[in-house]
Amino acid sequence: MATGHAPIVEMKNIEKHFGSVIALNGVTVEVYPGECHCLLGDNGAGKSTFIKTMSGVHKPTRGEIFFEGKPMQFDDPRDAIAAGIATVYQDLAMIPLMSVSRNFFMGNEPLRRIGPIKLFDHEHANRVTMDEMKKMGINLRGPDQAVGTLSGGERQTVAIARAVHFGAKVLILDEPTSALGVRQTANVLATVDKVRKKGIAVVFITHNVRHAMAVGDRFTVLNRGTTLGTAQRGQITPEELQDMMAGGQELVALEGSLGGTV
Amino acid sequence: MTSFLKTAAMTALVAAAPLLAAGQAAAEGERYVLVSHAPDSDSWWNTIRNALALAGEQMGVEVEYRNPPTGDIADMARIIEQATASGPDGIITTLADFDVLSGPIRAAVDSGVDVIIMNSGTPEQAAEVGALMYVGQPEYDAGLAAGQRAARDGVTSFLCVNHVISNPVVAERCQGFADGLGVDLGDSMIDSGTDPSEIQNRVLAYLNANPDTDAILTLGPTSADPTILALESNGMAGDIYFGTFDLGDNIVEAIRDGVIEWGIDQQPFLQAYLPVVVLTNYHRYGVLPGNNINSGPGFITADGLELVEEFAGEFR
């Protein structure tokens, strides 16, 4: 637990309105370095609006964002990336037709100077990609293998490795496990664990309580655009989280018949 | 099913025939290439192709027809260069755009290929590029003659439907017609495009906007056929003075029905046929006519349509 030092990201009373629709209505979250902060919520709870606000895609209508203690204004995702906030989107992490190494360095291409001309340093890119993939436990046929041939979990892993390699201090994962099978999910969760141990703050968005419980240090539940509070690991049971996500007790009646599988 | 098989077999034959024909004919006789500027869609050139084939057959020489598929003159220049590279005995070509085509034609002449200019261009231009002769209808003079004829019939204003606005030589016909009438061309010439229904609607729109138009001049079947339909639909058929360049099935019929007063026949048959004959005799016996040949204009009216009707679209 990392409560001993200052939060790396603090979001205070964030509101986001789209015309007459209030997507976020006063959300407060603190994220500490080295923790995995799970953000739970049902569909439509405002999870994706929230992470887009944190990653600079949206500007909050009201409220403040502090990054490393200083107020932060992100004009676009590039600012957030430059500051060290990286986001891995569920199905938009990678470009299937491009090679792993081109994907890995997309937006951060290494350059090699030949006289006045700056060229893409493929040699460097290929070497780094192979190294990083090996560290993450993915064996590539070669750095020019297309991402399209990787499994969903491997793609998420490549995207996470990429963010870490380029110095992310905060890593936002948007439902990284929602479309994956059991074994691939386990791989991704293991990757999250590795990343956390490097001192990087992970914001893990999911609506699957079991996945959250597996790696989360703290849990924040979003419902209808507001936070229903943050709980420490060990202070809350999966059932309680599940109920909070559903916004009340109505699932309790179903719980018995579903046998706790939801 | 059998008819499908037949069709398939025919298609295969047709596809293979040119290859075979070329293989055989290359061995004997002179080889002449006719290069036109007409896009694939221009049906008028069918007569040229038939006449060319007939001349080839009668003279015992190999003939080929080439054209730029979209009618792009720059592509035509490449085709002439290509024809030159293939080393024929002669090239018969139109001179649709002197600036573009004069270079390639001159190069053909200089590399020893005899050239005859047909259809488009002028006798002067033909001489300038070093061609043996020009076979065709001087466009301006043909238009002028038509204009003078219309003036005698009491026409004072007209609409010229130009479907080949990009070919300045053809536009000369409209200019000549206006001069023959003694009026200013002004806005009388419209760019009709080549699509039949577009032409029809543009003609209708023009006649609506200018109800006092005395006469219509079309520059070929492409513009004449839809214009006939336009006049039938607005009831002016037979009423308005209607002359056209060139012939085709529908034009011949319209002349018989009195919708069209006269058609100017530039006799494309001769434009393709004569150059082959001239070139062959020149190459075999060294004889060459001492002048250019005017293949037209011939005015075709309701009198004496029989032969025209019989061979319209084929040789006429």
Binding site: P77, I95, L97 | P18, L19, A26, G71, Q82
Partner: protein, 370 residues
């Protein structure tokens, strides 16, 4: 985690053949070999492979290459430009009006035309980006607008649709030879002296070689192919082009300036079209309102034959150049082989169909779709 590190035993090693298949140039290489074999068999003694014949299909192929390079990079960036053909007509007419009608020095006319056309390309791109409309529709509109102006301006100003006399205007101009000139004349004189190429038999050029130099058109084509290939495969910007076409949203999320990339590619396509037009106008000395009709499709066909995917994100400039070569050689070669010219379109359709089917198959291999 460590169990996946050993690899998935169900993924078979890719055979060398399949590995070669996913190179985008492969189709182009195979096609080029096939096409040349075919014509060497059927048209070897027809003049297709003498100096004039080679120059003929090289020039035609070079024309296709120039516009194919632009179309290829734009297609990889995920967009189309259907206004290429109209742009060729428009650019040529623009040079003609500036230099002949308005009497400006030719180099100013050329530079102004480049600026004008590249701006129009940028506008195309800007509209596509800002409206989110498919580039197909936006550039289709540009196709008509540009063609309309190309007919309207000369007709209004000069009362004709072909403006000539540019070669006279270009006499002594410093820039015009970069488009209409030729290089390497001494080599051809030397070759003619050796008797390797024919000389003119008569006329005032008698004794000169039938090919007097390599047209700048071919030089431009080669230069653009090399430039495009390096940019695409060896630079950061090239990676952005692939990314923008592969998945624009994913690229944006990692900070690739997708909008800028796409607009720049529209501008580059317009640049290529203008190079084509300028070379043509300087060679022939006149501009016509119907120049370049359907060239946009010819460019796209060359690019697709060259292995690029219509959906973007995959392709190669070298492939597109080979596609252009195949296109040019087939178009001109069918004549030399004595095939009826109307069948050219049949051949073209068949080649295109094969290319697209092959490309779809390749894409399945790359992305592992089943």
């Amino acid at each position: 985690m460590s169990d996946t590190a050993t690899g998935d035993e169900r993924v078979k090693e890719m055979s060398g053949f399949r590995k070669a298949l996913i190179r985008p140039e492969l189709g182009g290489i195979v096609g080029t070999v096939a096409v040349f074999t075919f014509f060497l068999l059927f048209a070897a003694d027809s003049g297709m492979f003498n100096a004039q014949g080679i120059m003929n299909w090289s020039t035609v192929s070079a024309q296709f290459m120039i516009i194919a390079v632009g179309a290829c990079m734009l297609m990889i960036a995920g967009e189309f430009d259907l206004s290429v053909g109209s742009m060729i007509g428009f650019a040529g007419m623009s040079i003609a009006i500036f230099s002949v009608t308005l009497g400006w020095p030719v180099w100013i006319a050329i530079l102004t035309t480049f600026a004008l056309c590249i701006s129009i390309g940028a506008l195309n791109g800007y509209i596509v980006i800002k409206t989110g409309l498919p580039s197909f529709i936006v550039t289709l509109a540009a196709l008509f607008i540009l063609r309309g102006f190309t007919i309207f301006f000369p007709q209004t100003i000069e009362r004709r649709t072909i403006i000539g006399g540019i070669d006279d205007a270009a006499e002594g101009d410093w820039l015009a030879p970069f488009f209409g000139g030729e290089i390497g004349q001494p080599i051809f004189v030397w070759l003619a002296d050796l008797g390797l190429i024919d000389v003119f038999e008569r006329g005032n050029r008698a004794g000169e070689p039938v090919i007097d130099g390599i047209p700048m058109l071919i030089v431009w084509a080669i230069a653009l192919v090399i430039f495009g290939h390096i940019v695409l495969t060896r630079t950061r910007f090239g990676n952005w082009i692939f990314a923008a076409g592969g998945d624009a949203q994913a690229a944006r999320y990692v900070g690739v300036p997708v909008n800028r990339v796409k607009i720049l590619m529209f501008m580059f396509t317009a640049f290529c079209a203008t190079v084509f037009a300028t070379c043509q106008v300087m060679e022939f000395g006149s501009a016509g309102a119907d120049r370049g009709v359907l060239k946009e499709f010819e460019a796209i066909i060359a690019v697709v034959i060259g292995g690029a995917l219509l959906t973007g994100g995959y392709g190669s400039v070298v492939g597109a150049a080979l596609g252009a070569l195949i296109f040019g050689v087939v178009q001109q070669g069918l004549f030399f082989a004595g095939v009826e010219s109307s069948l050219f379109r049949v051949f073209l359709g068949v080649i295109l169909l094969f290319a697209v089917i092959l490309n779809t198959y390749i894409r399945r291999i790359i992305t592992g779709e089943r």
